[in-house]
Symmetry: C2
């Protein structure tokens, strides 16, 4: 593989390299090690090569002396009075050991630019970027840090006592603005004339398509560069070892903090199930109970249409020669292992999931969660983009059944199945699918009173998810020459990155419009890195507030290090992975947690994967048992889950403390989170140390 | 190590060999591989040696031809109409491949004798021995099998509707018999004169001490014999592989049976938590809730005595400067990891566990189980043998608080801590401790109306457990020269086997007496094989109806094979092991299950090990996830747990079907157990195949 010096090459070079990378990826499709270009082997031959090649030159030894000793670096890191004394791991001497000065500088420049790219796209879409990282970026640039430059998403607070969450009176007035799609992105205009001339309302900038592609190609080249892979790999190894030492030295001290912390323990600190699909959020037993109940109260409901003839639930069961009493979890065929159940039983299930699933959710699951006062969930409801009425139906259901629970924060998932809809001629091109997904949201935002049900529903929606099997490879590469969505009329599916870009761009535009109207904004939280190409994680690095899964970060040390530096939350579901992809004990959850990536735990699909009435607790319990997590670890994961979630500022303040937006120990209220201040200080100082390294690396220029 | 031909040696030889084994064990104390004498390495060098040495001689080839081909064997095995067709694993040709004829015969003789030993001691104590195995033993002996020779324990049926479980009117009348201890065993006599002359009532035979020691020494020699180890190791390997093939071939067919099985699934098939300590049976959150509740209703109760001064709960909390509201799971210090909490908090906990624990159990845990209609538990309450009033206190508490729940079957655990009591001069010798433990039970059995509370309590007790850290090695060897319990007045603790023998002997005597009186009997179900010497598992093989843990069966193929052939139930607790001894993924549960050992799942100590409100379901869920168990596996384990438990005949009939005492598929009612008939047939035929091998091996003499 060619080593291209990243900072000298032109965009053309970069594109060529990116194409090479892409080609190698496509070729390797289906092969286990398809992305080996981004990987560093565990025994790390690159590293050894590099060391043998470079390290012991005199030139290098001299260069190293130029740098400030690390002791200075450590003194610059703030500590807080409220953190109890603990044993710190300090590294005295050469701080970038194992890579040459040149490589170190190259790496720092590359990482710096990557961080600024994410910062830019997060700010544009009202998504989050860590304050600490921003501060270091400004220091590197010699610019003052302005807190007013930071943005935060806006979520709807829970209703006050006596307030009706379905009340349409408080919706803002209608405007006469016009929303219209251009090149796959919806813009807002003052009126139709402005729309015709494509003169959108000011201060609502769309992401620049060409710049985005450039940024993406830069990042593709970055994560495949040998020296930078080596550097990131070494930093991650260091983070791992450092945490192990920290844990060994301070475990007891952390536990002591928790013991002295009154009233709060793991059980009553808030935790959010950050990734769960609404249609699968009851476990098998739940579903069964629900079917039996439905039969009792609703046996005459039409559940099937066989060759034009309606079939009621009663008739269906009669046809099956089956009484609901006899139904079992085994016959529901939810379990992965058995696939041979009668189709007809499958039909009952299908009906229930499609037509009644969300009701069930509202009725049964939410009440279970309300019992478990400290648990919250963020179920995903589907919008397919197949036709523009989907939002109407969904919001009508939401309002009609008054589906609201303070324990639930709703999200919209969009399956990446354009190819199927196009194949059936449901949509003429990809642009229409995007329009079906997003235009109704713009319209309800502009004219809330013309779409009261949807407007109310959108108040309680906190974000968008992008879902499907990531291992399906489209064969398309997202680049400057890609057809625009309106031109994408072939049956083939666009690539993951193409989907992600257009979802991001439209969410960005919606958020700017909603922010201007004083409404809540949406986060982009795609499924990412569960399988498939490593570039998915790159697309999300540029666009997503946070992601679900992230397993493939194991395959790219550079991306993993970037996810650490930008503290991108990752909702992990080791039980789901265990069933589908990855043996439990091999799940990277523990590794990521130790290194300081911001992980949370989620159930994904309790209907398939969980056994008890408390799927989220089951998820935590198994992680605790298999990975031998401490109480402090568990509470840290819980805290991460609240931070990651779409809970409102008011709720987060209540659950984490009034300073939760501050980073480090001063942002932590141990009385609410049960996370040791020592742990918080360790995390904060460790992040600062890594960011400071980059600053130092750039100073030497 | 000397190879002693087992069947030729005299008792003296056997003793000498047993002593050698014992010495090697004592020497290796604390060393990880202390019992290597009983082990066969995974790569099995013995096996390879043996093969190289013996196998290819002509003599052998000839001898092999004498035997009936296995196809015949297979045809002798009964199959049942109700078992669906499935693919059977048949081995055609040489059936004892890998061992020489001589070794095969030697092994069969040794195993046969071992089986008869267990059969004898089980029958004597009204404990269980598999019918199938008995039938094969009779066939080997050329004796007819008489069903009337089989014994079953007797457990009290649950009260009928309106019946009071505490009603003393139905107790049998008082007798004037006398119970008195002789040489550590309590006998029943007609009167004091008969007792003075040691003429016990007839037909209540005690186990013969000298025979027992002989039998034990035989078994010690057996499990250390190279050829027999090799044979057992090969059979177990075969059982494992055979199950894997069976699973591969019939997994779908088994699942199909379950899917077609109406109404029943894993969730509503009965399961029993077969090993749980009463004082630890609530999880941490339970305990916390209870302490807070106790403070509200019972703050003036004396909970502590400091230097002669009583301290109430209110005063205690005031002294601690602590309000119960502030108490947390962390501060309870139940968790293994942290040990530094204030002693005082520990005191509160201690008080609650000792004085209130069982109340809590009855109040909270039982009600949780009643919610979960299909779950039962067998909590252990402690009798220490420190003084004779312990039974009075315990039964008074039981009756006063009307501690009864149909979901709970009570057991008595006796800690092996004579050395501590003797050290404090609480008891003069070991015999007194035994007397304190057992004499009150005899007395209440003879004169129920003189001890009504105890008599009622005993009706609801189903067995005895022996508990303590097995890795503590006493240094004593149980042999003919061991001091009798009344002479055991040193501070040193007797060995595990010594304890086990005297508990077994006394339980045997109680059971004979109670059986004669038409009362329920007790099972002996010690903790065994969690750690320590392999000989513990040997002692239990001779004496115990079933055991808890059994991990060390991994270390002795001969014992493991014997446990398989006699289907000794093993209550396993992988989550407990995971915290204390053995990483979850390395737990032998899966291996044992596949080989066909009769395993169940239990929680042991939810206060330490479990997180959710459903500890038993958590235990099953984690096993299912980590070991990828099928529904059929889980239901088989559940069925095993009911069989193993002290649930009454009436309950077992209700939960397993009217023929549950029959073995094989005809004993299984899939509508109640959700265990596939194919699985049952596989298990039954596999057991028959192995027993038949032994029969064939003995025929050739």
């Amino acid at each position: 593989t060619p080593v291209v010096s990243l900072l000298l090459i032109t965009d053309e070079h970069m594109l060529a390299f990116a194409e090479k990378v892409f080609a190698s990826e496509t070729k390797g499709e289906g092969v286990r090690d398809e992305i080996s270009m981004f990987e560093v082997q565990d025994d790390c031959p690159i590293l050894q090569q590099e060391m043998a090649h470079h390290l012991h030159t005199d030139e290098d030894t001299e260069k190293r002396k130029v740098l400030a000793p690390v002791a200075d670096v450590l003194f610059n890191i703030p500590t807080y009075l409220e953190v109890p004394d603990f044993q710190r791991v300090a590294i005295i001497g050469d701080y970038a050991s194992g890579v040459t000065m040149d490589d170190f500088e190259l790496s720092c420049k590359g990482v710096y630019r990557a961080l600024t790219i994410r910062e830019k796209y997060m700010r544009l879409a009202f998504q989050r970027f860590p304050l600490t990282t921003s501060q270091y970026l400004r220091e590197i640039e010699g610019e003052p840090f302005k807190p007013e430059h930071t943005v935060q998403p806006v979520f709807t607070s829970p209703p006050k006592k006596g307030e009706d969450p379905f009340n349409t009176k408080c919706l803002p007035e209608n405007l006469s603005w016009v929303a219209r799609m251009k090149d796959g992105v919806i813009y807002t205009y003052k009126d139709a004339a402005a729309a015709d001339q494509h003169k959108p309302i000011e201060n609502m900038p769309a992401p620049d398509y060409m710049t985005f592609i450039d940024d993406m190609n830069f990042l593709i080249a970055l994560i495949a560069q040998g020296p930078i892979k080596t550097y990131a790999h070494r930093r991650l190894k260091f983070l791992m070892s450092k945490f192990n030492v920290h844990e060994m030295l301070n475990e007891m001290e952390e536990m002591k903090e928790l013991k002295l912390n009154p009233h709060r323990d793991f059980y009553n600190c808030r935790k959010v199930d950050t990734h769960i699909h609404a249609a699968a959020c009851m476990n098998q037993k739940h579903l069964l109970r629900f079917i039996k109940k439905s039969y009792q109260v609703d046996a005459d409901r039409v559940v099937q249409n066989v060759k034009g003839k309606d079939v009621t639930m009663k008739e269906l069961f009669a046809n099956l020669n089956l009484h609901p009493y006899d139904l079992t979890v085994d016959s529901l065929d939810v379990d992965q292992r058995g696939k041979s159940s009668p189709v007809t039983t499958g039909q009952v299930r299908y009906y229930l999931l499609c037509h009644k699933g969300p009701d069930l959710l509202a009725e049964e699951v939410a009440s279970d969660l309300e019992d478990a006062r400290y648990q919250y969930a963020e179920p995903r409801l589907s919008i397919y983009g197949c036709n523009p009425n989907e939002w109407t139906k969904l919001s009508s259901w939401f309002n009609k059944h008054r589906v609201f629970s303070p324990q639930l924060k709703w999200m919209i998932q969009v399956p990446r199945i354009y190819d199927i809809f196009r194949g059936k001629n449901f949509v003429p091109h990809f642009g229409k699918m995007l329009e079906n997904i997003f235009l109704p949201v713009f319209q309800a935002t502009i004219e809330p009173h013309a779409n009261p049900e949807l407007s109310i529903f959108l108040k309680h929606v906190t974000g968008f998810d992008s879902v499907d099997d990531e291992s399906k490879h489209s064969g398309h590469m997202f680049c400057t020459k890609s057809p625009k969505p309106e031109e994408w009329n072939i049956v083939k599916n666009p690539s993951y990155s193409y989907y992600i870009y257009y979802m991001y761009a439209n969410i960005t535009m919606i958020n700017q419009l909603r922010k201007a109207r004083g409404m809540n904004t949406f986060q982009f939280r795609p499924h990412c890195g569960e399988a498939g190409a490593v570039t998915h994680l790159l697309a999300s690095f540029m666009t997503a507030d946070n992601i679900s899964h992230g397993l493939n970060l194991k395959k790219s040390p550079v991306l993993q290090y970037l996810y650490f530096l930008t503290q991108i939350p990752i909702a992990m579901s080791p039980l789901s992975n265990n069933s589908l992809f990855l043996e439990y004990a091999k799940n990277p959850l523990l590794e990521f947690l130790k290194k300081g990536l911001m992980v949370s735990l989620s159930t994904d699909d309790p209907m398939q994967f969980h056994y008890t009435r408390e799927p989220l607790m089951e998820e935590y319990a198994i992680a605790a048992q298999v990975f031998k997590l401490s109480t402090c670890d568990m509470c840290e994961i819980s805290r991460n889950s609240v931070l990651q979630s779409g809970l409102s500022d008011e709720e987060k303040t209540h659950f984490l403390g009034p300073d939760y937006l501050k980073e480090g120990p001063e942002g932590n209220d141990i009385r609410k989170t049960n996370v040791a201040q020592i742990r918080m200080a360790y995390r904060y100082e460790t992040l600062c140390y890594e960011l400071n390294l980059i600053k130092e690396g750039l100073k030497t220029e």
